[in-house]
Every structure is written in C-alpha cells, then in structure tokens.
Symmetry: C2
Subunit: 253 residues, 2 copies
DNA sequence: CGGGGTGTTGAAGCCTGTCAACAATTGTGG
DNA sequence: CCACAATTGTTGACAGGCTTCAACACCCCG
C-alpha cells in the first residue's frame, strides 16, 4: 500500500531496502476516510503527519463569503510537511475527494526515522521543495493564465504526477487514462473559476478532441496538444531519476 | 545587519545568544545587489542559500508569452529553503526590486549549524512552513478575490510581515508607514492583474482614504478598514510569540 | 420511483484586459 | 543645474473573459 509513496520518493532519491521497510513501518497504522470527510481541519492542533496511501484529497481554504479555494490536490504518496507539528494551529483544511486510505505518522517517529536515515531525510526534504514548487506553479497558473490554459495546465500536472506513480494507463490508440475523481465544482475551486465557466471550458477542450473528462476519470487524447495549450514545462516537479515510469512522459517535453 | 532575520525567527522560537551568534557567522559574507539584478536565476544549479538582510526582492516565473508572475516578496530576514541544494536546477528566478544586501550561506554550513543547534533547526523549519502558508494564501488571493480585495490583502500581509521586523512607523494620527519599493507594474505581476487595472484599483483605495501608495512607500491610514476590505486573517503567518513588535498588530485582528 | 447532487444552457452585466496616447517622475549626462 | 531620455503612472474607449442568476437535464442511489 505504500508503493506510491516509495515511487514518489524514488523519483528523487534511491532508497535502500531498509529505508523502504522503515516507511512501511511508519505507515503501518492506517485509517479509511470516506469522500467529503475531513483529513485535517483548520484550527486543529497538529497531531500526526497525514500521508495519503490511496485516494484523492484536497487542501483548501474557505473565505468569509463562503467561497473555497483548493490549494493542492493530494494523490497517493502525498503528505503534509514533516515538521507540521511546529505550528500551534493548522491554517487550512484537507478533505477527501474520493475514499482515502490515510496513515498518520506520529511526528516524533518521523523525526527519529529521518534523523537515523539520511536518505529518508533527503527524500522528505525534497518533497517539501517540490510541494512549494507546485504551489508556485499554481500561483502562476491562476495569476497569469486564462481559464482554458489554466485547466489544461492543471491536467498536465496531474497527468505527470500520476505517471510518476505509474497510475496512468495508455491504450493502443495513444490515449492516456487516469483517475480524476473531482467534480466540476471542485475543479472550479481549484483553478479559481466559476463552476459554470469551468463547464464551458471543459466543453471546449472536449470539442477540440484533446480530452474527455467525467465519470471520475480523465482521458487525454493528445498529451502534446494539451501541454501546448497549457504552456506546460515539467521542470518544477523536479523529477531527478529517469529510471521511473515518468521517463516516457518527461521525454514528451 | 541580521536584526531582521533574528526578529523573524524569534517570532516563532526563542534564540539563545549562541544561536544568534551562529546566525551572525553564517551571514558574515554579504553581497550588495543592485535593483533589477538577479539574486537567483532559473536554470541555475543552487550553490548557497540566499538570505535577504536588507532591501526587497521578488521571486517570479516567466511564461512563454513573456508575462511574469511574482510568487513571493522577499523582505529582510527572508531566505530560500535550507535544503535548496537538493535540487539540480532552480525553477524560478529571484530579482532585487530595491538594492539588497544578500548573504549566501553555503549549504553545508547551514546544514551543520542546524544539526548542531536544535533551536535553529526548528526556526528554519518553521520558516519553510510559513513560506508555504504564504504561498497558499497567495493562491487563495489570486484565485478567489477580485482586484480590489486582492491588493488590499497583499498590503495587509506585507504590513504584518514588516511589523514583525519592526519596520513599520506609526505617526500620531494613527497612519502607518512602511517601505514598499515596488512599481505598479510589479504590483500587477504580483496580484495577477494588468498594470492599467492595478492603477485603477489603487486609485480607488486612495480615493477612499484607506491608503497612500507611491514614492516607494505605503501609508495605511486605516489598518482595520484595509483588513476588512481584504478579509485578512493573520493566522497563516503563524506568529507564535507575542512578545514582538507584532503584538499590537495582531491585536487588531 | 423519487430526490439530491451534478452537469448544461442562455442571457445579461461586470470585472478586467487591450490598445494607445499622454502626463508625471526619475535618472543621467553635459 | 538644466535638458533630455527613459521609466513609471494615468486616462479613455472598447472588447472579451468570466460571473451571476436561473432554469433545466442528467444520473446515481436509496
């Protein structure tokens, strides 16, 4: 069940068998979280570091007016910052979009593990750097692209991240399929648009034959075209070891 | 010259005299960077960790079409991630907006220092968490607020962050003054608007008597009103020790 | 079969972008 | 110290992206 976590970490750092075993141990106690349930809640004091082992979740903030902005999608292997416990109070919430299997690693155990294992320490530090890079890319996306390109960019990113986890299927016609269990409303809250307008942009992307979206899945008929539309460059994801399934995806760039 | 860095870190963690001395040593070699010059450049391999000791800088990304999105303002005490060296290549640039005094801490020395001094380690880890929180707040700002509130929110944040550094002057009429050496074009690239529209929003804020902006300075006549407009809540900055100058600012919330 | 969540569509209007010209300010060199 | 150039700020008219509101279609689930 921690395959994705290992795949993600290994896109940056080669891990020994012992390191993997440590991860296994850290994530031994898991909890099933239903869709629409909290994984973390604004105002909470942090207790353990949540790790998504399967499913999809979203990090978001609510505004006074009731609107919501999603600031991250958490897919398998994604987790909160290792030092989260330093904060007295969480400033955002995390909610399951699809049923999730979550491990909550006690902060102390994670600290001990990374202090004892330099590879793990590097791997987790790398995760923090990439999470920040993704956040910067999202600021750019929302700030400087219009809806059409914006949605395309988000899809390119998720496609790439899922590829690293080897969670993308490719059929013999060249189309690529991945889970994307997100409603149009949630998509809208992610890219900073209205559900209505998001719907219209999706229709455009569909009518142009670039994607299909619905039924909790995304099909990309033409990855190159989508990346063209988005102006997508995968460099910010900092995949450093090309011996992963992401290889063939990187080469598209 | 490292007062700001110390003030910033101490808003989270009390530092011993020895810790402060370590910081002093780490930042001993400084470099003056003129306005509009690079501090870090996309595509570079990271060498040292830049720390802003004085001045203003901006982290940004350029898009294919030539547009720019600023993803962070770096004010005194701000710095890049301590583990930056783990990345092979930087995915964004940092440029001085005003003349800056910069220390480039060699990654190894910073690593040694934080391994030897748990307080420093905690302080730097806290910085990373706050940087991420700010980034999330920017995604929300650009994604879910309109220009008027968006600019107000940015000003509230910078006001707060400058307060922590004790860099805000308060006159006897209640107005608060802070350096804000940013052109309207740079402001526009920060909040995801056009320079023209940014100008119009600024005029509105001025005409309403909330702020004055220009001449490299921002004057806030009515902090409460500005926060009201912005829907600003300072919780995401995670100021944990109220014995700082930020105290009176927090109390406004 | 019914109901709630989700997706789709149309019309109207606002926020924001674009283009283009001009004013004000800053900086520089003579 | 002034004159000129370059940058920055300001304004108007117009267009376009996006929002809002509201109604309706669809689909999954009990």
């Amino acid at each position: 069940m921690i395959d994705s976590l290992i795949r993600k970490l290994e896109s940056a750092v080669a891990l020994s068998h012992a390191s993997r075993q440590t991860l296994q141990d850290l994530c031994s106690k898991t909890r099933q979280v239903e869709a629409r349930r909290y994984i973390l809640r604004e105002g909470d004091a942090p207790h353990g570091v949540p790790v998504v082992l399967s499913g999809w979740a979203a990090r978001y903030k609510l505004l006074a007016g009731g609107s919501r902005q999603i600031t991250a999608f958490l897919i398998p292997g994604d987790h909160c910052d290792r030092d989260m416990a330093l904060l007295h109070e969480i400033d955002h919430s995390i909610m399951a979009l699809a049923p999730c299997q979550i491990a909550y690693i006690p902060s102390e155990r994670l600290k001990e593990a990374t202090e004892a294992d330099p590879d793990l320490a590097r791997a987790f530090a790398w995760c923090t750097l990439v999470d920040e890079a993704i956040l910067r890319a999202w600021v750019v996306n929302v700030g400087r692209r219009e809806g059409y390109e914006r949605l395309a960019h988000l899809m390119c990113e998720m496609h790439m991240r899922m590829s690293i986890l080897d969670l993308v299927e490719k059929d013999r016609f060249g189309a690529e399929h991945l889970d994307f269990p997100v409603t149009q409303e949630e998509l809208a809250d992610t890219v900073g648009l209205t559900p209505v307008h998001t719907n219209r942009v999706l229709q455009r992307l569909r009518s142009e034959g670039v994607i299909r979206f619905g039924n909790r899945r995304l099909t990309i008929f033409d990855v190159k075209a989508l990346r063209q539309i988005a102006g997508f460059s995968p460099n910010y994801l900092h995949v450093q070891r090309t011996a992963t399934p992401a290889e063939r995806v990187l080469e598209l760039a």
